[in-house]
């Protein structure tokens, strides 16, 4: 039976891996170049038996000016998970569409397009509304979006709402010194 370490070794030899992290014996994350992602994904799906796409998500590295996109795959034969990561530019955020590999990819890409503003040219219905209908301004999951300020400006706060800092509140009321 193919092991996850063998699969990672094959990827390293064929496509090259920028970074590798062994999280658990059955969970490994590899970082590959943006150009190699689609090849790596189809290799993993068709040859290494990672047939199930668990999810696609993005992480905003604001300080470095990058987005990280993570594809998490699952192998039903040996019950292991393999995460494929890649970095894309934050300024000109677009990624190659992988909707031909799994049907559900198009939905994930629609969500990423709406929540992070990452474009996937050629992906079906990628410009349509997903959960936010008629959203204007910067996408809400980007880290430079100030969600508290947006909420205060858009949805009126009811007067009388009090917020306590838990640390100070505990010190004042429970642990007087």
């Amino acid at each position: 039976m193919k092991t996850i370490l063998n699969s990672v070794k094959n990827i390293e030899q064929i496509f090259g891996v920028l970074a590798k992290k062994i999280q658990r014996p059955d969970l490994i994350f590899i970082t590959v170049e943006k150009k190699q992602v689609l090849s790596v994904l189809s290799h993993l799906r068709d040859i290494e038996e990672y047939t199930h796409l668990v999810m696609i998500t993005a992480i905003d590295y604001l300080e470095q000016g990058k987005f990280q996109i993570l594809y998490l795959l699952h192998n039903y034969k040996n019950n292991t998970d393999l995460g494929v990561k890649t970095f894309i530019s934050r300024e000109d955020a677009h990624m190659y569409s992988a909707h031909h590999l799994w049907g559900q990819v198009a939905t994930y890409q629609r969500e990423l397009h709406e929540m992070f503003g990452i474009d996937f040219p050629g992906s079906p219905r990628v410009n349509e509304n997903f959960a936010l209908e008629g959203w204007e301004g910067i996408p809400p999951m980007r880290r430079d979006f100030d969600t508290l300020r947006y909420s205060q400006e858009t949805y009126n706060f009811r007067k009388g709402r009090a917020t306590n800092d838990p640390k100070k509140y505990m010190k004042k009321n429970l642990h007087k010194e």
């Binding site: 509304n129 936010l132 209908e133 204007e136 508290l148 909420s151 858009t154 949805y155 009811r158 009388g160």
Partner: protein, 207 residues
């Protein structure tokens, strides 16, 4: 002759060819019957509270035990109905995202007069734990008139029954005039709704 401000609703967000398909009349307040008849009718209304089975947030999970064997709200004349046309109450089950609020407004406007609103959970009162969310409204009574609030995160079925009893008292006393309030302050509610719902592809009044 003095011109009224809006006789018909503009329905300006609809496409021109669709405007004929929808009603453009404004909601009108319903005047009360005479004193004794109104009392009788209010007594009848208070004892058949049919609510729209539309779970709008996490508070809606407490409606299942409310209706099933243990709490059995049918003995109070409370029943769930599948469509807005058949129901007289809408339960706001906690937080309402902007997308859900659009559906709440559609459903509320389709309900027949007299109609009442019960709002569960703290999220619809002041935002609750989602007070800083980009997508969750903080005050439901800016968008539709609310008769009874039930606090809690989430309120237990006992609290919901207490809220229904409170609503019964209000109806019997003739104070639950939410639908008339909505019709009278229609421009205020509509302006608030349109301020946050950007993708308004429906008529101004979904009758």
């Amino acid at each position: 002759m003095k011109e009224k401000k809006y006789d018909i609703l503009p329905n300006s967000e609809l496409k021109a060819e669709d405007r004929d398909l929808f009603c453009d009349a404004r909601p009108v307040p319903v005047s009360k019957l005479n004193k004794y008849m109104e009392k009788l009718v209010n007594w009848a209304r208070a004892n058949s509270l049919w609510f729209l089975a539309f779970g709008t947030g996490c508070g809606a999970v407490e409606v299942r035990p409310l209706m099933t064997a243990r709490f059995d709200a049918y003995r109070y004349g409370i029943a769930g109905r599948p469509t807005p046309r058949q129901s007289g109450i809408i339960l706001i089950g906690g937080y309402a995202s902007v997308k859900t609020l659009k559906r709440i407004i559609r459903s509320y406007e389709q309900m027949q007069n007299p109609k009442f609103v019960i709002s569960l959970c703290s999220c619809s009162i002041n935002g609750g734990m989602y007070f800083d969310s980009y997508n969750t409204i903080n005050q439901i009574d800016k968008y539709i008139p609310v008769d009874v609030y039930i606090t809690g995160c989430m309120p237990r079925p006992e609290a919901i029954i207490a809220g229904f009893n409170k609503l019964k008292d209000r109806i019997k006393a003739g104070n639950a005039e939410g639908a008339n309030k909505y019709a009278e302050n229609f421009d205020y509610y509509k302006a608030n709704q349109k301020k946050i719902i950007k993708d308004w592809n429906m008529p101004d009044y979904n009758w």
